[in-house]
Symmetry: C2
Subunit: 241 residues, 2 copies
């Protein structure tokens, strides 16, 4: 059983995410201030607001993540590399991309490895998280994909874009098992409709390194309320001699 | 009332579209052969298969369209321009992009004009279609956007990405009215769940220059069956003297 030590620890394994494409600067500022207040691992946002995030999160430990080739993943490799470099130039610490699922449909797995490698080489030390969109893949396809992603030295394999119906907890555990078996050295991030701390706990217990959630603020706040702000004063206990 | 002369004419105003992100090369080949068979105005497909489309459609009049900044539109302008150039290099005749809706939310309409202009200038003679995703905009926002797109000399204003619930025919007519009033010189393409020829007819009657549909093949085939393959032999009529 994964041990969540306290609310700070919980926030440190959450990627607080908002990938809405129609969010005003004022709303995004509020979101980023929440990320800063609770000191999440990462704030992942759309490319438009990467410079704003860099500014607001400058004096914090919160990493700035954004997305390329998102959410469909069918852009040319050359375009994805260009997008990635433009995010880094704007200050992103992490880049999330989606595999080209057409190549899965045509069983051209080598093209998936080649693309991941090209993006990772362009990014250098910047973290690369590659989303496989597990909801629409068969287990055999997932295994074939993650082997190639580990070969390409990506930093994280991530389950979902968050734009499809989220997987059930059993499907998430199945995904983690497949990732651990076929890409044992690569870290795992799960982004799959995690909206309460108990589900976060289940996913971490199953072996995820990070969870991404649009509800990070509520998850940590609720955990804090339940575990740290509860005023339980136990009655004195006299032990038997 | 728009007059559809025959099935060839109907196909000439349809952009046959397939923007699935998980389609094999064999399936895409079948789709492109359908586009060629009925001689559609355009085949719009994902970037992966632009070179294949160029090859299959080489000796036809069917234009090859693809997408950038799709379907969320929140990429940096620099990235969108890079994607556009990479599509042209692969042989695309048309580029579809989505406005950055964050700028609508923040009422930064000038940034929308500026981006459209930069993409159009990079594209030169290649057709630029700009999608406003009308489903999530207020009428006032639509008017403000389309004025700027006309200023930027885009070739078409397009209603939707096709990734949201499609608009009702009344909403489509309302959109066309707004486009005609605030961007009178720019052509109009409607992509909004048009799946039968009667709806195609309604949208063309309302003033659309082109309709985009995933069901182009079925629309034209059905029209052909109903209007051209029907064996009606009228009885001889003797007119009164």
């Amino acid at each position: 059983m994964y041990r969540i030590k306290n609310s700070k620890h919980l926030a440190s394994v959450i990627n607080y995410t908002n990938l809405s494409n129609m969010i005003s600067e004022a709303e995004m500022t509020e979101f980023l201030n929440q990320a800063k207040e609770l000191n999440f691992n990462t704030a992942t946002i759309n490319p438009t607001y990467v410079p704003l995030a860099k500014e607001i999160l400058a004096d914090s430990n919160v990493r700035v993540g954004s997305v390329i080739g998102f959410p469909l993943g069918f852009e040319n490799t050359e375009s994805k590399v260009g997008e990635a470099l433009s995010l880094v130039e704007n200050g992103a610490d992490e880049v999330n991309t989606v595999i080209n699922l057409n190549h899965v449909a045509s069983e051209k797995y080598d093209l998936i490895e080649d693309e991941a490698r090209q993006i990772k080489e362009a990014l250098g030390d910047t973290t690369l998280k590659v989303i496989i969109e597990s909801k629409i893949l068969e287990d055999e396809q997932k295994a074939n994909v993650v082997i190639r992603l580990e070969n390409a030295n990506v930093d994280y394999i991530k389950t979902s874009t968050g734009f499809l119906t989220p997987n059930h907890i059993y499907e998430i555990v199945n995904d983690i098992n497949i990732f651990q078996k076929y890409a044992p050295k690569t870290k795992i991030e799960v982004y799959d409709g995690i909206d309460i701390w108990k589900m976060a706990h289940q996913v971490l217990t199953a072996g995820a390194d990070l969870i991404a959630s649009n509800n990070g603020y509520q998850i940590v706040s609720k955990y804090k309320e339940l575990r740290e702000n509860t005023q339980i004063k136990p009655k004195p206990i006299t032990l038997k001699k």
